[in-house]
Symmetry: C2
Subunit: 410 residues, 2 copies
């Protein structure tokens, strides 16, 4: 079936998804993952074999693998989301107007969401569960390497939906994984939202081609600014946590900006601590003489997301230069300041344009669970609708509702 047909069939069933037993479907999926894991594992084996033959690097094979631990995490996640309060059809802020008309906003699903992802097949369970909780249908286009795994998981979703009395058309996988499928999604005006999650090239392609609303989940070029009034020991811990606690994720730290007045004291400490963790430093001309083994950072490198044990270091004249650097090279994902001066901190918090701005805390906190939202479908770096982690509420919208007794406009 073509993408368009899949989308049309999903659209026709949207009210049933919103009104049906969505939690029942989530719990049925949890049971099916337990009972029929063998099917998923076998499909995953096929993907892994093909990927090995194609010579995929070990890191990518690891991301592709669905093991016992993944199963447990997925099942636990489904149960957790099922237990969350239902967001739909609540009326917010119902107020009475002078003419007696009662007006408020009702929370409703976005509708049909297109999800283009390149990542781990586990996302096929996680992303759908968040979207479904919010009453949406979902059209998935996963990565080539995970195609068999994704098919097996979507087959289970369809069974789970059926078990709960929901239309199985609510979750579908695009029949192909080529670039053409991405372009087709971009032009499918039947989508209420398109979420691309993946590499820079994919995001840029979708932003250029899409004729439907897009919430991009782009790279995280995240900075820590170490102010002249920073607690340097705290700054050191935050830099280490940001860079090394899990380097391959989008909220990891990519660059440290250091106030010139503390550069001499801070940079040798930073180098020693980072070296002990195997982190390579790339530095600006002012930082280089203060470091023993750093290499010069190239100009074209400053907006790069390494996702690896590499850290850029730059000495700045002060807050002003730090703000300018972040505005120019940052990716509006996560930005942090370390300072004991509240005035400097608040200026940073107010002026930096990023989905999360932190004062004296690690960039690694930009995450749905850490911020108290619960499960998320990714972290939006788009400013509209949802800026930051997208949880269940971010996959709904508010429409206006008016309850009258015959009111006319005069």
């Amino acid at each position: 079936m073509s993408l368009r047909e899949l989308a049309e069939r999903a659209r026709a069933r949207l009210p049933e998804v919103a009104k049906g037993d969505r939690n029942g479907a989530l719990l049925a999926m949890a049971r099916l993952l337990e009972a029929r894991w063998e099917e998923v594992r076998e499909a995953n084996e096929q993907d892994l074999e093909a990927a090995q033959k194609a010579g995929l690097p070990k890191a990518k094979l690891d991301r592709l693998r669905l093991d016992e631990r993944t199963r447990k995490d997925l099942v636990a996640g489904l149960k957790e989301i099922a237990a969350l309060p239902d967001p739909l059809f609540r009326l917010e802020g119902l107020a009475k107007r002078p003419n007696g008309l009662r007006v408020g906003r009702m929370r409703v699903p976005l509708g049909l969401i297109g999800f283009i992802y390149e990542s781990r097949p586990g996302a096929t369970v996680e992303a759908v569960s968040v979207a479904l909780k919010a009453g949406n249908a979902m059209l998935l286009r996963g990565g080539k390497e995970a195609f068999q795994s994704n098919q097996a998981l979507v087959a289970l979703w369809k069974e789970a939906l059926k078990e709960a009395g929901l239309p199985e058309e609510a979750v579908s996988l695009a029949p192909t994984t080529d670039r053409e499928a991405v372009l087709e999604m971009c032009r499918l005006e039947l989508l209420d939202l398109l979420i691309p999650r993946g590499g820079e090239e994919l995001i840029r392609l979708v932003q250029k081609e899409a004729r439907v609303p897009v919430l991009a989940h782009a790279k995280g070029v995240n900075h820590l600014y170490v102010d002249e009034r920073a607690d340097l020991m705290m700054a050191l811990r935050l830099a280490l946590n940001g860079k090394t606690q899990r380097p391959a994720v989008c909220n990891a730290l990519e660059a440290v900006l250091v106030h010139e007045k503390v550069a001499e004291a801070f940079l040798p400490l930073l180098e020693e601590a980072m070296r002990a963790k195997g982190v390579e430093l790339r530095a600006c001309p002012r930082a280089l003489p203060l470091l023993k083994e750093a290499v010069p950072a190239k100009e074209e490198e400053w907006d790069r997301e390494y996702l690896d044990l590499v850290l850029r270091v730059k000495v700045v004249e002060g807050l002003e230069e730090a703000l300018q650097h972040i505005a120019r090279y940052g990716s509006r994902h996560t930005e942090a300041i370390c300072t004991e001066d509240p005035r400097t901190a608040w200026r940073f918090l107010e002026e930096v344009d990023a989905s999360l701005v932190l004062w004296n805390a690690s960039t690694r906190f930009n995450d749905g669970f850490q911020l108290g939202l619960g499960a998320e479908i990714g972290i939006s770096t788009s400013k509209l609708h949802a800026y930051g982690p997208m949880g269940v509420l971010e996959l709904t919208t508010l429409k206006w509702v008016a309850l009258g007794e015959g009111q006319e406009r005069t």
Copy 2:
């Protein structure tokens, strides 16, 4: 100066706009409209003369005209917006996480907004005032017919900004009004948001070409569904108010759907009342025999916005068919039901996908002031970020903020 240069200059000054005396600029503009109205009027005269020579119909000339009443309305609007509470930099929902990290959301401007409009030159004052109150800069591309008027008004805006100590780069008018300027705006990745307001063709062009987020303000193909349990006298009043109180606006009524059980009683009443107001009826095959002078509605007509004294009438089997008709032909703008049955009403309220859904009230209430938002920049029919009237809050976004004491992720 090119659009790109104007946008770059505006972007560079965004923090100053957000932090500056925005209310001061609004009040200065109000004073300048009083003191220097002559300049605006002269520019408007040039536009009117050219339009007359070009043979524009009278309705369009009326829309183009800036008279004393417009001036008064614009001045009053500016003062009203200046008096609204400031939306920026408020921290919402600051909560303490188990690790002591305080997280919340801070309201900040969207940034640089592109506004493409074809309408009355008064929009040059109204739209900018809402955007500026919310701390945004604005790049305008107005219609050809109003170019002199728009230039005069933007010149006053620049003076008002200067008087209040704000950068005059915050408001600019595109140097040309051709289609090329629209396409250039669509591709200007420096924009945080692009708002097209105008005819269907313009909206579709922008949605197709834009590489930045778009909130479309599309046509209103609005229905009133008269249920079998409707108070028919109320239904009649709502239909008349929706269609005739101001036919040329987007929240006017375009079609009435009537339950078959009340069609025989209701349609003759409707025809008589509408005829008295000079409204032409176009009807479905089932409605035709119940009407004296109606003409058949053509199939391709059902999704049309007349903006005129023309009304479509259709007999439906019941709620189900009404919902399906609205889903197919509606434009997600404004939809109303007239019924005394709360069960039917709530199903309509929940299931109809439109920016405002009304029960026993006129579609004409889809308006920022009527819903209690105050001034608006238009009515969004996009589901993301803002669905319905876009006031000051809808032109801001919420970013996450975290206040820590050295917290690291474990």
